[in-house]
């Protein structure tokens, strides 16, 4: 561990060199030369608060437990100026049983507000050359602003989580613009899109047997249930429909609002109409914007088919710890009784506070519900499992007159580190994501 207040970048580079040399010497035996340094990537995490900073450090540690990597965690300290930083370097050395030791470095920088606008020049001297550099923007990336473009100058890809966008609709619009202007080298990765991968896999899997391929050209209805209200909460739903529409060549004709919170989109696939219905269905265990069910139906050559993929309701979820609400209610300690008390207290006040926040936001911004996401009140739930978003997908397949076939799939725990790892491992240059995003935004805009 190395720490210094008021450090310069040159001092940080010198400290890193010293740490690496010490590691190489320590690992080399008496009569053998040192092993070359191994590094998979540089991850630059841009954070805006202590909570994000800790999350970034935690994810870096988890990834580094298996893969030698360098992480640079940057937190802006608002209201300060200058060119020196409070910096720390933490290294974890791991010794796998069947491989030589690997080293993971986490460099944390607290930067003055002025320097935070120039992340590219700040970080450039620190990144490991020859391996990819990923910029993980943990809040809402400042789309369209120089600050983001400067950061992307040093990155091979921008990683973000559209489920955490504070103004989902507007941010999504900024994101879709970035896709159209981004150069080929820049990859984009959305943890929210990655989170929905199991759903896409299940849908694709249904159409995989050769004798079901013809169903693809027989789809006439798609139904999507999501939580929350308003178009800002329809990112996941729009992603799903955008993905299908762009893959299957559907053309969006129009969108219409119906009764009971149902919004319909009308597509045309050649001469065949495809109706898509978005339905807001409250689910206590899901966060706003999450999908609870997808239904696809149609018929081909006289055979009807229906695929239903539903999220299993048995799920616990760790609430967003950054919520403003948390500051109003302490957790009452980490023991069971304290958490239970806090939970009851929170539940009592939750509705009132949420309504107030929504109303204030609506008054202040004039935007429809869901357009922007007011900070949500959170119930401190007792987490009996790992803090993840573990889920079960229940699939029902109905073909012709045959009895429905039920299939249950458990989705691996998808905490942030696992999602990030999955995204970085599979690559951020994803043409399917890009085209789905554009189709999703076109849909959101019409709705």
């Amino acid at each position: 561990m190395w720490r210094r207040e008021g450090a310069t970048i040159a001092e940080i580079i010198e400290a890193l060199s010293r740490i690496r040399a010490d590691f190489a010497r320590a690992e080399a035996g008496d009569d053998e030369h040192g092993r070359p340094r191994n590094c998979v990537m540089t991850l630059v995490a841009v954070t805006s608060g202590q909570g994000d900073e800790r999350r970034a450090q935690r994810c870096s540690r988890i990834i580094g437990a298996h893969h030698p990597a360098q992480s640079i965690v940057i937190r802006e300290i608002p209201g300060t100026r200058g060119h020196k930083f409070d910096a720390s370097i933490v290294t974890d050395v791991l010794r796998p049983t069947t491989s030589s030791a690997v080293e993971c470095e986490i460099v944390t920088l607290h930067v003055p507000g002025s320097a935070a606008d120039h992340i590219g020049s700040l970080v450039d001297p620190l990144v490991v050359s020859g391996v990819p550099t990923y910029v993980w923007w943990m809040g809402t990336p400042p789309f369209g602003r120089q600050e983001l473009h400067d950061a992307l100058r040093i990155g091979d890809a921008l990683v973000f989580d559209s489920a955490r966008f504070e103004e989902p609709y507007h941010a999504f619009r900024g994101l879709s613009k970035l896709v159209t202007i981004a150069h080929r080298r820049l990859g984009l990765g959305d943890l929210h899109w990655s989170r929905m991968r199991p759903l896409r896999e299940v849908i694709a899997q249904f159409f995989m047997p050769y004798d079901r391929r013809s169903f693809l050209s027989g789809i006439t209805e798609v139904g999507i249930d999501y939580t929350g209200n308003g178009r800002g909460n329809r990112i996941a739903a729009s992603y799903t429909v955008g993905w299908m529409a762009s893959a299957l060549g559907w053309e969006l004709q129009r969108a219409t609002a119906g009764g009971g919170g149902i919004v319909a989109a009308h597509y045309r696939a050649g001469s065949r109409p495809v109706e898509v219905h978005f339905r807001s269905v409250p689910k206590d265990h899901l966060a706003s914007g999450e999908l609870s069910a997808v239904r696809i139906a149609g018929s081909t050559h006289g055979t009807t088919f229906r695929l239903t993929v539903a999220r299993d309701p048995e799920r616990t979820r760790r609430p967003n710890p950054d919520s403003a609400y948390r500051s109003l209610l302490s957790s009452g300690g980490e023991d069971d009784a304290g958490i239970e008390l806090t939970k009851r207290q929170a539940e009592r006040h939750r509705g009132v506070l949420h309504d107030s926040l929504d109303s204030l936001h609506h008054t202040a911004s004039g935007e429809a519900p869901g357009e922007s996401r007011p900070r949500q009140p959170v119930v401190i739930t007792h987490e009996r499992r790992r803090p993840d978003t573990e889920q079960v997908l229940l699939t029902l397949i109905e073909i012709g007159d045959s009895p429905p076939l039920r299939h249950v799939q458990q989705v691996e725990p998808e905490d942030e580190a696992a999602l990030l790892l999955d995204l970085l491992a599979t690559g951020t240059h994803d043409a399917v994501f890009n085209r789905s995003l554009l189709a999703a935004f076109e849909l959101m805009r019409k709705m």
Partner: protein, 510 residues
């Protein structure tokens, strides 16, 4: 466009996500060791990765009298014990177990196969399987013929959907028996429906040999007789024969390891670039290599091969018994537990380059590697003195453990003078990627379900390897060369070192 050719655009971009059609896998010998240790845990892990499609079902078939529930209970226990991923995810396991059922099958009873046919028909109707069937013979090779005949008699290999049979090595014990096995299987299944599984080919690092050679432009130009001095292939195990004495004493290292694993490594190292990474293109090139290996006869076999048997010694700090003291091994056994060969591949690329192959039990450690040794520089620019600590360049492809690739080259030692020393540039498979490698059986089972036989051995490959090995076996049975001995925990008999010393070379110490 035919239905079979219609693409599924929704599958595009789902990286590394390969989906099989719904099918039923019948495991013959489902209560045996292979099924419990490898197959059921691999299928569970495929379910965990969501690679098993809705409708997929497993039918266990064996001699034991057992109910569906008892089979599921047994499967659950084995999965808990042997799964690569732990802890077990109970919801995945429950869903997987619900797709399991059991039918008692005596391989000699036609009625049992009729009962099996009825069960498969029921599953077809209830699980939208479309008649797709995979018959996995997790049974001794002697049963393959009987099983194939009974499947045919019960018409289980006909009808809609695909019908595949999977058989485990050994694929015969010599050329004749291998050809008989192929003929037996071909009486019922076409060659493209026969999946001969050699789990070695399912290892990521074995597949990476092809990626290393053919996805890079800098290695292929030097991968030939112009710059390569020799190739060494080592397949060493620190373990003895464990409980396999009865089998091993009939097989020996040559049949158990060299004929299949080691010859596959030779083929992958020496093959020409295939037109594409598809089953026939890859296997065509491998067969060409096996057929180009110079056959040895008579005295040449005595000069170019070494066989040895371990005696008691020390391995990994423990004293271990000699081979003849192992259970189910004849006290005067002449079976080799170590084999070394010097082979030449008579083609344009490899003319004059010796391939040294060694495989053995009770070696100092478990290691499989391919070492490609390059020629020395034609002129010693820095003089003999400066170069005395430099070995020739070498590329080592480590298959297991510490999977990876290293390149050895000379570098100047930091000092006022000019002294060159060998250094190593390492690539470690385990830490270089952000994903974990699947277990070989997971990869191969999924390949079989998908219908991709690239990593399975084709009949002509098997026969080409036996054609090469048979003369060695014959000569060795006649005592040529004589059986050497080596203390457990050493790198084989002294004659193994002499084999290379005669050529002015020495074995690389892995």
């Amino acid at each position: 466009m035919k239905v079979e050719e219609a693409p599924n655009p929704l599958a595009e971009g789902l990286h590394d996500y390969r989906v099989a059609d719904p099918a039923v896998m019948v495991i013959f010998g489902a209560t045996g060791d292979l099924s419990g240790r490898k197959l059921l845990p691999a299928l569970y892990n495929l379910a965990r990765q969501r690679s098993l499609p809705a409708g997929f079902a497993v039918v266990g078939a064996a001699m034991d009298d057992m109910s569906d529930d008892a089979f599921r209970k047994r499967a659950s226990e084995k999965i808990h014990q042997f799964s690569r991923t732990q802890p077990i995810d109970n919801r995945v396991l429950d869903a997987f177990l619900s797709s399991l059922s059991y039918v008692k099958v005596d391989f000699s009873r036609a009625d049992d196969f009729k009962a099996l046919a009825q069960r498969l028909q029921e599953l077809d109707n209830t699980r939208h399987i479309g008649g797709n069937r995979i018959f996995y013979c997790a049974t001794p090779p002697q049963t393959y013929q009987l099983i194939a005949q009974q499947l045919q008699a019960a018409s289980l290999q006909t009808g809609g959907g695909f019908h595949r049979i999977v058989v485990e090595k050994p694929f015969g014990t010599d050329l004749r028996s291998a050809m008989e096995l192929t003929q037996t299987l071909h009486n019922v299944f076409s060659e493209d429906s026969v999946y001969r599984i050699d789990h070695y080919l399912g290892k990521e690092t074995v597949q990476n040999i092809l990626a290393f050679r053919f996805a890079n432009s800098i290695f292929e130009p030097v991968w030939n007789t112009n710059l390569i001095d020799s190739v060494q292939i080592t397949v060493a195990e620190e373990i003895g024969i464990e409980q396999r004495g009865a089998y091993y004493d009939r097989a020996g290292a040559l049949r158990d390891i060299v004929q299949n694993h080691a010859m596959q490594l030779v083929a992958l190292t020496a093959m020409e670039p295939p037109l594409a990474f598809d089953a026939n293109a890859v296997r065509d090139e491998k067969v060409k290599v096996l057929r180009a290996i110079r056959p040895l006869q008579g005295e040449e076999i005595a000069r170019s091969t070494v066989r040895g048997q371990y005696t008691k010694g020390w391995v990994l700090g423990e004293q271990v018994a000699g081979y003849r003291e192992e259970t189910n091994v004849a006290p005067d056994s002449q079976t080799e537990t170590f084999a070394a060969l010097r082979l030449f591949i008579d083609n344009w690329r490899w003319a004059g380059v010796p391939f040294y192959v060694r495989a053995g039990k009770r070696m100092p450690k478990r290691v499989t590697e391919i070492r490609v040794q390059f020629k020395r520089p034609p002129h010693l620019t820095f003089g003999r003195e400066a170069m005395q600590e430099v070995d020739p360049n070498a590329i080592t492809l480590r298959i297991q453990p510490e999977e990876g690739i290293s390149l050895k080259f000379g570098a100047k030692v930091p000092s006022a003078g000019l002294r060159i020393r060998s250094v190593t540039m390492d690539f470690q498979y385990m830490t270089a990627f952000l994903v974990d490698a699947p277990e070989a059986y997971e990869r191969l089972l999924l390949d079989c379900m998908i219908g991709d036989p690239t990593l399975f051995t084709r009949g002509d490959e098997v026969e080409a390897a036996w054609k090469l090995i048979d003369p060695f076996e014959e000569s060795w049975r006649g005592g040529m060369p004589p059986l050497g001995t080596y203390a457990a925990g050493t790198w084989g008999p002294p004659s193994a070192a002499e084999l290379l010393q005669a050529d002015g070379r020495e074995w690389h110490r892995p």
